[in-house]
C-alpha cells in the first residue's frame, strides 16, 4: 500500500513511519510547515514547525530510506485554524485548535493532496484506534489511556477515517519510545509537546491580541448582575477560570459565564459552576448516523474524564446531552465528544451549558 505519513519530527510520527516501513508498505514522509518560526528567536521556537523539527523528521526519513518532502500548508492553517481561534476568543468562547487542525489540515488539505498524488492512505502519529468492523468505520480510544487523542479526532467522519491510519494508536507511548530506541531514531527521547503549536509561550490571550482581535475592557458582574470590577477583554477568560480576575475578595471566585453580547464576565463561587448538561453544534457522527441508544459518556475537554450522560435530542447538526451528575467548567467553544465505552460516537462544538 502507498502510504503518506505526516512526520512532525516527534517520536510518535517517526515510529508510525517506521512501523509502516516494517510492514512492507511503500511509505513517503511529509513534514507540514504550518506556521512561521518567529525570527527573533532565531528559529528556536518550541513546537513542531521549526526548521529543527523538519530536520529531525528528514533525518528519520533518511534512516528509514523513504522519500521525504516538506509541504507548506501555512495558508490553510492560517485561515482555517488560527483565524478561527482568534474569532472564537473574540466571541468569548474557548476553542480547541488541534481539533480544527485535524479536520481542516491533517485530514483535510493533506488528505486531499495525498489522494491526488496517488496514495492509498495518510498516516499520523495519533494515539487512537481506527478500524472497520462489520462494514462500519469505528474509532476507539488508544490502548494508552494517558496518551489517548481520540478526543481531537472525534469530528472526523467515515471517509476521512477510512483513508487515515494511526499506526502507534494501539500501543503504549512506552512501547513507541522502545521502538524508536531500537531503531536508534534521533527523536526517541524528545520531550512531549503540550502547548498549542502556534502559541509556544502558552499565552493565548496575548496571541489573540497580537492577531489584531477586537477586544475591549468590560464589566465583571456578580451572579445578581452587580458590577464588581472591570476586565481587560473577554478573550482572557474561560468558564471555570479562577486566576487573573483581579478581584480582592475573601471567598474564591470563578468565571461562571463569558457573555459576549454584553462584553461581560460573570463571576461567583465554585458551587455555581455546576451544570446539568450541554448543547453542541456542528455535530458529526463517526458512523454517519446518530447512535441508536441514548446512553453514552461525554468528554468536554482534551484531558478530561468521560462522564455518564444521556442524549436527549438530536436534530440537524445539533445534539443536547444531560449529564448523569453535575459537571463544572462547561466552556462553549470546546468540543463535546460522545463515547460508548471506548468507542467514539461523534462530536460537536459546545455552544451552551444547560442548567441543573
Amino acid at each position: 500500500m502507498k502510504i503518506l505519513v505526516a512526520m512532525s519530527g516527534g517520536v510518535d510520527s517517526s515510529v508510525a513511519a517506521a512501523m509502516l516501513v516494517a510492514e512492507g508498505h511503500d511509505v513517503t514522509g511529509v513534514h507540514l510547515k504550518l506556521s512561521e518560526a518567529s525570527p527573533e528567536s532565531n528559529g528556536r521556537v518550541h513546537g513542531c514547525c521549526t526548521v529543527e523539527a523538519a530536520d529531525d523528521a528528514r533525518r528519520v526519513a533518511d534512516v528509514l530510506d523513504i522519500p521525504f518532502y516538506v509541504w507548506n500548508l501555512k495558508d490553510t492553517f492560517s485561515s482555517a485554524v488560527i483565524d478561527d481561534f482568534v474569532r472564537e476568543y473574540e466571541r468569548g468562547r474557548t476553542p480547541n485548535p488541534c481539533v480544527r487542525c485535524n479536520e481542516t489540515v491533517k485530514f483535510g488539505a493533506l488528505l486531499d493532496r495525498g489522494r491526488a498524488t496517488g496514495f492509498d492512505a495518510v498516516a499520523t502519529g495519533h494515539y487512537a484506534i481506527n478500524r472497520e468492523e462489520d462494514g462500519r468505520r469505528r474509532l476507539y480510544r488508544s490502548a494508552d489511556r494517558t496518551k489517548d487523542q481520540s478526543y481531537v479526532l472525534a469530528t472526523l467522519g467515515r471517509q476521512e477515517l477510512a483513508f487515515a491510519r494511526f499506526p502507534v494508536g494501539a500501543q503504549t507511548k512506552d512501547r513507541t519510545r522502545e521502538i524508536a530506541r531500537s531503531l536508534m531514531l534521533r527523536t526517541a527521547d524528545k520531550p512531549e509537546s503540550y502547548d498549542i503549536c502556534f502559541v509556544p509561550d502558552g499565552d493565548a490571550a496575548a496571541f489573540v491580541e497580537r492577531a489584531g482581535a477586537t477586544v475591549a475592557p468590560g464589566p465583571i458582574l456578580d451572579p445578581d448582575g452587580n458590577e464588581v470590577g472591570e476586565h481587560g477583554g473577554i478573550h482572557r477568560f474561560t468558564v471555570g477560570q479562577r486566576r487573573g480576575l483581579g478581584l480582592a475578595t475573601a471567598e474564591r471566585r470563578f468565571v461562571l459565564e463569558v457573555d459576549a453580547s454584553r462584553n461581560a464576565i460573570v463571576v461567583g463561587p465554585g458551587e455555581l459552576l455546576a451544570r446539568g448538561g450541554l448543547t453542541a453544534e456542528k455535530v458529526s457522527w463517526v458512523g454517519g448516523e446518530p447512535p441508536v441508544t441514548a446512553d453514552c459518556t461525554v468528554q468536554v475537554r482534551a484531558h478530561g474524564e468521560p462522564v455518564p450522560a444521556t442524549i436527549t435530542s438530536v436534530e440537524a447538526g445539533r445534539v443536547a446531552v444531560r449529564f448523569g451528575r453535575p459537571q463544572r467548567g462547561i466552556a462553549p467553544g470546546q468540543l463535546a465528544a460522545l463515547y460508548d465505552g471506548d468507542e467514539v460516537l461523534g462530536a460537536g462544538t459546545i455552544d451552551a451549558a444547560l442548567p441543573l
Binding site: 526548521v51 523538519a54 530536520d55 518532502y69 516538506v70 507548506n72 493532496r113 491526488a116 498524488t117 496517488g118
Partner: protein, 381 residues
C-alpha cells in the same frame, strides 16, 4: 543511492562535477595534500595549482588574477561584497544599500541584516519579466549610497539584467556596484570589469561544492569578514581549499571554452521544452520569457496545480525539478521573484522550474514533457 534513470533538470540548483574538474582535483586529494601556505616543495605545488585556477577564473570573467578572492561559496562571496563594502563605506559617511527585489537570499538576507544594524536599505522593483526598473533605481541611488547590488541573471526565471546601465547609475553616484553572477556564469559570458564586485560559485559551473569567488576590482576597498592568517590579500583568511579551488578553475575554464558552441543547442532544447509544455497542457503561463533569459531556464506556472504535489509526482517519475529555489527547510514559499514580477499568488505557488544542462537531450525533453503532463492530469482529476 544514485538512480540511473533519474532525469536531472535542476541545473540551476547545482551541476554535476565536470570530468576536467575531477581530473584536476584528484592529485590534490592524494599525494599533493600540503598546506598551500607552507614553504616546501609540495606546498609550492599546491600554491601553483591555486594560482593556475586564479588565472583560469580571471581569464574567463575579464578580471585580473590579483582581483580574484576565493571564498567558501557564492553566498559567502555575496556576504563579503555587501558587508565588506558597507563596513568600509560607513567610515566614508555612506550608509545606503540598494538591491533588486529579485535578488537571491544571499544578497537579500545580507541586506536585511545590514538594515537591522543601521544601514538604509532600498529595494528596487522589477517589470513583468523580472528586469530591474532603471527609473526606480535612479531614484533610489543617492550621494549616500554605499553599494548597489543587482544580480547578473536571476536563479529562478533566468532573467538577465541590464548590467551596464545599472553600473552607470551606481557609478554616477560614486557608489559601488556588486553583481551576483552565480547563476549567469555557465551560459552567459560575464565581464566582471563592468562591476566593482562580482560573485561566483564553482558548483553552478561543473565545479565542486564549497568554493566560490568574489572579484574585487582594483581600487575597490572592502573589509574582510574572516580574519586570520591573511590569505587572499587579507580579504579571506582560511587554509586554502586546494582541491576545491583547482576544480573550480578547471571547470570554469572548460565552461568558458565550450560556451559559444553549446549555448545554441541548450537554448533550442529549452525552447522546445517550453513550447511542448504549452502545447500539451492547458493553462500554462511562461514566466519571464519576454526579456533576455539564461539558455537553460524554463519557469512556468500551471493553473490549478500546486507546486509541492507536482514535485512529488515528478520525483516519483524520476524527474528532478524544482518549484522555486531550494532552501534550508525544504519547504516552498510562493516565489518572491514571481510575486515581484506581478504573478498572482496562486500562480506563484504553482511554479515549476526546469533547468537544462549541456547533457540534456531531445529524448530527455520529451520525457520531461510527458512526466509533467501526466502529473497535471492526475492532479486535476
Amino acid at each position: 543511492m544514485h538512480n540511473p534513470t533519474t532525469l536531472y533538470l535542476d541545473n540551476a540548483a547545482t551541476t554535476p562535477l565536470r570530468p576536467e574538474a575531477r581530473a584536476a582535483m584528484e592529485p590534490f586529494l592524494d599525494a599533493a595534500f600540503a598546506n598551500a601556505s607552507s614553504l616546501y616543495a609540495s606546498a609550492r605545488e599546491a600554491r601553483k595549482g591555486i594560482e593556475v585556477a586564479r588565472e583560469q577564473l580571471a581569464a574567463a570573467v575579464g578580471a585580473r588574477p590579483e582581483e580574484v578572492v576565493f571564498t567558501g561559496s557564492g553566498t559567502e562571496a555575496d556576504n563579503l561584497a555587501l558587508k565588506g563594502a558597507a563596513w568600509h563605506a560607513r567610515e566614508q559617511g555612506r550608509d545606503g544599500i540598494v538591491i533588486g527585489v529579485t535578488e537571491h537570499e544571499a544578497v537579500a538576507k545580507t541586506a536585511e541584516w545590514l538594515g537591522r544594524v543601521g544601514f538604509r536599505v532600498r529595494v528596487v522593483g522589477v517589470d513583468g519579466n523580472g528586469v530591474v526598473s532603471l527609473d526606480e533605481l535612479r531614484e533610489a541611488v543617492d550621494e549616500k549610497t554605499a553599494i548597489v547590488s543587482v544580480m547578473w541573471a536571476n536563479n529562478e526565471v533566468g532573467t538577465v539584467q541590464p548590467v551596464a546601465e545599472i553600473a552607470d547609475i551606481a557609478r554616477s553616484a560614486r557608489a559601488l556596484f556588486h553583481s551576483d553572477a552565480v547563476q549567469a556564469l555557465r551560459f552567459l559570458p560575464v565581464d566582471s570589469s563592468r562591476a566593482d564586485l562580482t560573485a561566483f560559485s564553482a558548483h553552478k559551473v561543473g565545479g565542486p561544492k564549497g568554493v566560490g569567488a568574489l572579484i574585487v576590482r582594483r581600487g575597490t576597498k572592502i573589509q574582510p569578514l574572516i580574519h586570520g592568517g591573511g590569505q587572499e590579500r587579507g580579504l579571506r583568511s582560511s587554509t586554502y581549499n586546494v582541491a576545491g579551488i583547482i576544480g573550480f578553475g578547471a571547470a570554469v575554464g572548460a565552461v568558458a571554452a565550450e560556451r559559444s558552441s553549446v549555448v545554441p543547442s541548450v537554448e533550442m532544447l529549452r525552447d522546445r521544452l517550453q513550447a511542448e509544455l504549452c502545447a500539451r497542457i492547458t493553462g500554462v503561463h511562461v514566466n519571464g520569457a519576454g526579456a533576455p533569459r539564461l539558455a537553460g531556464h524554463v519557469n512556468v506556472s500551471i493553473e490549478g496545480i500546486e507546486g509541492e504535489p507536482l514535485i512529488l509526482l515528478l520525483d516519483g517519475a524520476g524527474v528532478a525539478a524544482s518549484s522555486g529555489s531550494a532552501c534550508q527547510s525544504g519547504s516552498t514559499e510562493p516565489s518572491h521573484v514571481l510575486v515581484a514580477m506581478g504573478v498572482s499568488r496562486p500562480l506563484a505557488t504553482s511554479a515549476l522550474r526546469l533547468t537544462l544542462g549541456t547533457d540534456t537531450t531531445e529524448a530527455d525533453v520529451d520525457r520531461a514533457v510527458s512526466a509533467v503532463a501526466d502529473a497535471v492530469v492526475r492532479l486535476r482529476r
